[in-house]
């Protein structure tokens, strides 16, 4: 968790969120690779959605890829374990495995700043 990078990314995200500009530097891109048929994957999808809603300021994207249907994506992204959550933007790229059942751990692992201070405002 490089503090500098994290702080910069957080500042940018906050600023852009305010203006709703949606520039490249502001957004967060997440991809969740799942094995569509399994309970584990269903749980991971639910956990991921909840995590994004609760911990990320827009704009963010969360795409869900069923590895059974996208073997090429599996190979390109070098996915071995499912479920895997890949943060492809902002850099650095980070990968997480597991069903994302611990949001605090996920946030720390993604290297994104906590938005505890901004979260209560919209709520």
């Amino acid at each position: 968790m490089t503090d500098g990078e994290g702080a910069d990314a957080g500042a940018d995200a906050g600023a852009d969120a305010g203006t709703d500009a949606g520039t490249d530097t502001a957004r967060v891109e997440l991809t969740l690779y799942v094995n569509g048929a399994s309970d584990l994957s269903r749980r991971a999808i639910a956990n991921a959605r909840r995590f994004c809603d609760q911990n990320l300021a827009p704009p963010f994207t969360l795409s869900v890829v069923d590895v059974h249907e996208h073997l090429d994506a599996l190979r390109e992204s070098q996915i071995l374990a499912v479920p895997t959550l890949v943060k492809s933007w902002p850099l650095p790229v980070r990968r997480l495995v597991g069903d994302l059942s611990r949001p605090a751990r996920v946030l720390e692992a993604l290297g994104l700043p906590a938005i505890d201070d901004t979260e209560p405002a919209p709520a």
Partner: protein, 593 residues
């Protein structure tokens, strides 16, 4: 898919099928199938483990390449450590064209990149992604062979080892369920076969590779640690990674099944051929020439090469002490002209210091050279130099392999061995391997030393048991009879003295004979003269007797004539002429009345 191919299995009585061997997938790797009794367990997993740089990846890759090219079994290589490009480049030197195999649909190289950084763990997961990739790769080429190199890399990636271990267990079950023959590589750990103990998941076959440096030369070794359900060799075998891939060198797998020849090949020394009985060594036999320093071992070896080349055969000379120009020059000083054979392409030298390679590398280099050149005669000069690069048992094992290799090809081998006067240690390691053993010795005495040769051992030949003096002349090697007298064997000047003595003895005997012949002649003349005199005497006597006899017969006739005249005169009775006169007729007249 291939499990049903089990040969010898009776589907109706599976329990009582006699000697049901596990179905095996031949590796095609030189020597490995001999050691494993036919290959790796088909449809199961084999663990190949060893320290870094021991050749695990190459062995595994060759298993796939041979499978694809020789056994029509496509394969999948899952690489965790090296990229596809690196793998292709690494095995290109062994003549494996992986890119072509991929293009031909016989091979898939799937490089699984794992980040150096650990992947964060946020709960339960499984390795379904890997299984999917593997499954897709297997399906893409219809693979029946899979290599996973090295799955333990995952331990550096995933922090939750409990999940990883259970997933690995599932991976091996998955491979088995797909019916593929798989090779899993693992790096040796402290006190265990692999760093993370994956051997516990692979229970069918475990091959341990090793890479040791002894006396500054490195040797690779292979051992079958475990092979469930099959008889396998348990020894350690040296193996090499050469220009044609991996070669395991089992000593026992060759068996003693050489074709034999009763054809004799000349040594180039007529009297030596005679000593061996009927014209020299058997073709394809192994000959040890041992002796002390400077007894002419190399010269004899060179003479044998020369003789082979003169017959139009090829000869190969492995020299560990001299360079080719040195040998050619030194041999020309005794009239053995080798350069002409080199120029004619019949003779090749391989000169190198033994320390340059490990024992196995030597063996392998020799075998490759021999295979390429295909000679009829091979010389190892001197084989005792190899002792310096291993202990006696190792050298003996190595020479055994070499001898077996040469015998199997029907090549006559000449091994020279340097020994000291008293100990024949070097020789005894190999003496039992060879078919013939010529011993060259230095006989000291009379202020000089001379070389002698005798045949210490010669299988299947009516060889001479005599010691011969070994002479290096301007025309090569010659053997001379030695003289055995009260002082022992005479050689050199003592032999010459003896020869001179015998010559002079012979001369006087000759003179004596001549004298006696002359005497006899004279005696004969005397006898003849005497005989002539006797004959003359006899003839004189016979003459006299003859004359006498002739006079005697005339007198009788006269007397008969006189009697007849007297009778006529006396008017006697006529008598039959020639008839003895009647005595009464001789009565004086007047006595009758």
């Amino acid at each position: 898919m291939t499990l049903t191919e089990a040969p010898g299995a009776d589907p109706h009585h599976p329990g009582i099928a006699p000697r049901r061997e596990l179905p095996k997938a031949p590796t095609g790797i030189n020597g490995l199938d001999d050691v494993t009794g036919g290959g790796l367990p088909r449809g199961r997993s084999t663990l190949v483990c060893g320290p870094a740089g021991c050749g695990k990846t190459l062995l595994a890759m060759e298993f796939l390449v041979r499978g694809a090219t020789e056994f029509d079994e496509p394969g999948v290589f899952v690489a965790f450590e090296e990229s596809r490009e690196d793998l292709i480049a690494n095995v290109a030197s062994m003549g494996f064209d992986l890119a072509q195999l991929e293009a031909d649909g016989l091979l898939v190289i799937d490089h699984v990149e794992v980040d150096g950084a650990a992947i964060e763990d946020t709960g339960d997961w499984d390795l379904e992604g890997l299984f999917l990739r593997l499954g897709a790769a297997i399906d893409a080429v219809g693979a029946t062979r899979v290599v996973i190199d090295t799955v333990e890399t995952l331990f550096g990636t995933f922090t939750n080892t409990a999940i990883l271990r259970s997933e690995l267990r599932r991976l091996f079950a998955f491979l088995k369920a797909r019916g593929v023959t798989s090779v899993i590589t693992g790096e040796r750990g402290d006190g265990s076969l692999t760093r993370h103990g994956i051997e516990e998941y692979v229970s069918d076959c475990v091959i341990v590779l090793d890479h040791r440096v002894l006396e500054q030369t490195s040797t690779r070794r292979l051992r079958i640690l475990k092979y469930r359900g099959t008889l396998h060799e348990t020894n350690e075998y040296p193996f090499l990674i050469g220009a044609s891939g991996v070669s395991v060198l089992p000593i026992t797998s060759l068996g003693l099944r050489h074709g034999i020849s009763s054809h004799r090949v000349s040594t180039g020394v007529a009297r030596l051929d005679a000593m061996l009985g009927d014209g020299g060594f058997y073709q394809g036999s192994t000959v040890l020439v041992s002796g002390t320093a400077g007894t002419g071992k190399s010269t004899l070896a060179a003479q044998i090469c020369d003789a082979a080349c003169a017959r139009g055969e090829r000869a190969m000379y492995f020299a560990f002490e001299e360079s080719e120009p040195e040998i050619v020059r030194n041999m020309s000083s005794v009239g053995i002209l080798l350069q002409r054979w080199v120029d004619a392409g019949l003779l090749e030298f391989r000169c190198f210091r033994p320390k340059f390679f490990g024992l196995e590398a030597h063996l392998f280099a020799m075998q490759e050279s021999v295979t390429q050149f295909d000679p009829a005669v091979v010389v190892l000069d001197p084989v005792s130099d190899l002792l310096g690069i291993g202990n006696g048992a190792e050298v003996s094992a190595m020479v055994t392999r070499q001898v077996d290799f040469l015998k199997a090809r029907g090549i006559t081998a000449v091994l020279t061995s340097l020994n000291t006067d008293t100990e024949l240690q070097a020789d005894h390691h190999i003496a039992s391997l060879v078919d013939a053993w010529l011993l060259l010795k230095s006989e000291e005495g009379n202020g000089e030393h001379n070389r002698v040769l005798y045949v210490r051992k010669s299988r299947g030949m009516a060889n001479s048991n005599q010691i011969r003096e070994f002479l290096l002349t301007d025309q090569g090697i010659e053997l001379a009879d030695v003289y055995v007298g009260p002082q022992g064997v005479l050689t050199g000047s003592a032999r010459q003295a003896q020869e001179a003595k015998e010559r002079s003895d012979g001369t006087s005997r000759l003179e004596d004979l001549e004298q006696r012949r002359v005497n006899l002649e004279r005696r004969r003349e005397a006898v003849e003269a005497q005989t002539a005199a006797l004959w003359r005497e006899f003839e004189d006597e016979a003459d006299v007797v003859g004359r006498l006899l002739s006079h005697g017969s005339t007198g009788t006739e006269d007397r008969a004539g006189q009697r007849a005249e007297q009778g006529r005169l006396r008017k006697a009775d006529p008598t039959h002429p020639g008839r003895p006169p009647d005595p009464s007729a001789d009565e004086p007249p007047g006595t009758h009345p």
